[in-house]
Assembly symmetry: C2
Homo-oligomer: 151 residues x 2
Amino acid sequence: MHSGDPEVSRRVKEFREAAKSAGVKLTHQRLEILREVIGRTDHPSAEAVYRAVRVRMPTISLDTVYRTLWLLTDLGVVTTLGPRREVVRFDPNLKHHHHFVCMRCGLVQDFMSADFDHIRVPEALLAVGEATSTHVDVRGVCIQCAQAREL
Amino acid sequence: MHSGDPEVSRRVKEFREAAKSAGVKLTHQRLEILREVIGRTDHPSAEAVYRAVRVRMPTISLDTVYRTLWLLTDLGVVTTLGPRREVVRFDPNLKHHHHFVCMRCGLVQDFMSADFDHIRVPEALLAVGEATSTHVDVRGVCIQCAQAREL
DNA sequence: CTATTTGCAAATAATTTGCAGTGCG
DNA sequence: CGCACTGCAAATTATTTGCAAATAG
């Protein structure tokens, strides 16, 4: 995927519109960062985006990259892999299990399911690697948060 | 789950054995930390374990909690939620997708699957919350790492 | 006894923030 | 032309490490 890619121009245009309606300025830095992150499939860290963009724009700073990536996230143009700012959390459950994750409060509840332990994976994955196990994240809203919202 | 729980004693015994065969000492601190983490289902952070253990053992330090939790992880007594030490990574793919994760090199490859988008979840989850979407993590070894291992 | 382990304090790493100058609309 | 944005440097937060004293085996 390079800069001339129609997908990239489509997403850049999408961002121009989102930026306008959010009253956000279109700076050279923001466009470069956006082009870089859209053109990648390896889920880069802020640092990795910084290194790549700096080649074309040597004066850019790492904190601008951070600020811009969070801005893009807030505008719904990109997402993050896993939750924002994760601290290490420990899990005493050694059995193969799955998670229910509450999108409101971050609750993570384990559950077992023999069906989920070995789901048949798409044929196309053979080209990526060999699958060992499958883990399902069920996202939703937990009972407590659902009740709090009803009030 | 409290200290008298048979499950806790079973796991403590398991740890005593693992510790002996690894040539690791059984300190008061380690046993308290182990009891605390085993007795919880909320996947606590090191900080949370520290706060809880400090009630019974006021002189314990946060770094001992960290060292012990990683020790327990290395001994295979507990695991972590997500990979060790995660940096934020950004994902430009806004479509509902799933991940193939290589356990060797950390590669995360997106893939689509309409089947995986809405798997029927176990009835028991109704007691936990309302499910909105399902996301599958397929763990395994990617082609590159598999080839490297063959050499 | 003596090698591990602990607690303290200082070091790191990733990320965020305050501020003065710069540039988009 | 004014307010949002940038770059720099300094602050924060989570986690790790060096070291002298404490302790398990």
